[in-house]
């Protein structure tokens, strides 16, 4: 995969040669204005339903392995 990635980067490097110093970068194509909405509470998903999708739910929480390797 290293060879493939190098090949792709070599192709991509072509744009490095373009003189674009004065060009503004585009992060987003739609002109967006910041708008505020009323802060109205909405119901959230029931905890049980969300946990049903988890690989290892326990006592109303997501269980994960210990961050410390076992000795």
């Amino acid at each position: 995969m290293a060879g493939e990635l190098s090949g792709i980067l070599e192709h991509v490097d072509r744009i490095a040669k373009l003189d674009l110093d004065d060009v503004e970068p585009t992060t987003h194509v739609v002109d967006l204005e910041n708008v505020l909405r009323p802060d109205e509470p909405r119901p959230s998903w029931p905890r049980e339903a969300v946990l049903e999708q988890a690989p290892d739910p326990v006592e109303g929480a997501f269980r994960v392995p210990s961050p410390q390797a076992e000795a």
Binding site: M1, E4, L5, G7, I8, L9, H11, V12, D13, R14, I15, A16, L18, L20, V23, E24, P25, T26, T27, H28, V29, V30, L32, R37, W45, A49, V50, Q53, A54, P55, D56, F62, V64, P65, S66, P67, Q68, A69, E70
Partner: protein, 479 residues
């Protein structure tokens, strides 16, 4: 049953609304067709209709790309890492289809997380092209294109980030449309590259594409980038192309295009002139850098979006024991396929300190230049036209060892998402591949200014009527 499947979506919806065709009989005809899928195009199928509402799509079954969340129905994005995932909610696009009276026919196979141009990157096996089962259907919405072309669904929806609706539509001989960024809500659409991703229809004809787009578009409070299409969308109508100006990129003469595709493209340009349209060349000098910009921006955004798959809250977790960090690593190593890993690495590299400006920053500037090229073209022209894909459908396995060659399939389709503008691919005939072999479908792409969907659909409709493409893969529909 066969006759019911001959109807376009618009025809079927009209007959259902008039009581001439029963909804249950219509659904059953398509359920049976979908059950006979030999193309590996469906990942799951509905046993019964879930739609009973009246509306413009009343009684119409729709095949949905597996990138869209569907409440209670497995949604994998073509990835092992989401195997068995049943979302708690449906994507807004899927909800809009249901509100228009449509029902879910099934979820379609796709390149993993929509990363691919051949559908060979699915964790659930490749989709076969209904025209030639040894060839790819294109991607990433390969399943959605194959079910429509193969007579396994009346219509489908997909997503397009760099061509993922238009290219498979072209390779399968159907209509595929990418609307303006913001036309349709992305809520519940599993994110690949958020500044590029857009939902759109894959249909047998332009009229059906308009019908689906009318139901799909709209502002959604759950997606702050969605704005909808002002005035909505109506059935396309136009008999000629008089007074319309079509730009052909001046650089096209030097681009690598198969001989058959180029001949078909030129024949289609003649057809436009016969309909009264005017054709001239326009410079789009930065389009050739579209692939470079796209393959920096899309992987960069993907590397951030895909960080959420960590084996904690949903999806699969590796069985391999270990501490927390090892669990993350093994889950992602086992859950993601090669192309997804490749793009995550490319993306994180392009965003890394010291390389950010050279790659990501520069790509965003190229994006500005590409958008400016199109804006300049649209100051003089109504549309920009190109072939949708440089080649007809290629063989399974032909490009899997060469990612860059695979990326080049997107040459004509990546500039539009980068510029945020809409484009449609319509079938424009058949052509022989460069290496010889059976005749395969060719797509003709029409790009338009942002939110000019109606005008684009009207022009595509006029051209479609003049072309009169009615070829079908063997054993489909009438066969």
């Amino acid at each position: 049953m066969q006759e019911l499947r001959e109807l376009t979506v618009a025809q079927a919806a009209a007959k259902i609304a008039a009581g001439e065709v029963s909804r249950s009989e219509y659904f059953e005809a398509w359920r049976q067709a979908a059950a006979g899928d030999e193309l590996n195009a469906y990942l799951c199928r509905s046993e019964q209709s879930d739609g009973d509402g009246d509306g413009p799509l009343g009684g119409i079954p729709v095949a949905v790309k597996d990138l869209f969340c569907t409440e209670g129905v497995e949604t994998t994005a073509g990835s092992r890492i989401l195997e068995g995932h049943r979302p708690l909610y449906s994507a807004t696009a899927v909800r809009h289809l249901a509100e228009a009276g449509a029902s879910l026919l099934g979820k379609t196979n796709m390149d993993e997380f929509a990363m691919g141009s051949s559908n060979e990157n699915s964790a659930y096996g490749p989709v076969l092209n209904p025209w030639d089962r040894e060839r790819v259907p294109g991607g990433s919405s390969g399943g959605s294109a194959a079910v429509v072309a193969g007579g396994l669904a009346p219509c489908a929806i997909g997503t397009d980030t760099g061509g993922s609706i238009r290219q498979p539509a072209a390779l399968c001989g159907i209509v595929g449309m990418k609307p303006t960024y913001g036309a349709i809500s992305r809520y519940g659409m599993i994110a690949f590259a958020s500044s590029l991703d857009q939902c759109g229809p894959l249909t047998r004809d332009v009229t059906d594409a308009a019908l689906l787009l009318a139901a799909l578009e709209g502002r959604d409070p759950c997606d702050s980038t969605s704005v909808g299409i002002e005035g909505g969308i109506r059935a396309p109508q136009r008999a000629d192309l008089k007074g319309l100006r079509f730009a052909v990129p001046a650089e096209l003469a030097h681009d690598a295009i198969e001989a058959g595709v180029r001949a078909n493209f030129e024949a289609t340009l003649k057809r436009i002139e016969e309909l009264g349209g005017e054709i001239a060349e326009a410079p789009l000098p930065h389009a050739e850098h579209g692939i470079s910009a796209y393959y920096v921006i899309a992987p960069a955004e993907a590397s951030a979006n895909l960080a959420r798959y960590d084996g904690v809250r949903y999806g699969m977790r590796s069985e391999a024991a270990g501490d927390l960090v090892e669990m993350y690593e093994t889950t992602r190593a086992e859950g993601f396929g090669d192309e997804v890993k490749r793009r995550i690495m490319l993306g994180t590299y392009a965003l890394s300190s010291g390389y950010y400006e050279a790659y990501y920053g520069q790509a965003q500037k190229v994006r500005t230049k590409i958008a400016a090229d199109y804006a300049a073209a649209f100051a003089e022209f109504d549309f920009v036209v190109t072939p949708t894909s440089p080649s007809v459908a290629f063989g399974l396995g032909e490009k899997t060892d060469d990612p860059l060659a695979m990326y080049m399939n997107d040459f004509f389709t990546v500039p539009m998402p980068l510029a945020g503008i809409p484009a449609i691919s319509i079938p424009s005939g058949l052509a022989e591949p460069d290496g010889g072999g059976p005749q395969l479908p060719v797509g003709f792409q029409i790009a338009a200014p942002a939110f000019a969907e109606q005008k684009m659909l009207d022009a595509a409709y006029a051209l479609e009527q003049a072309i009169g493409f009615d070829a079908r893969p063997e054993g489909v529909g009438g066969g």
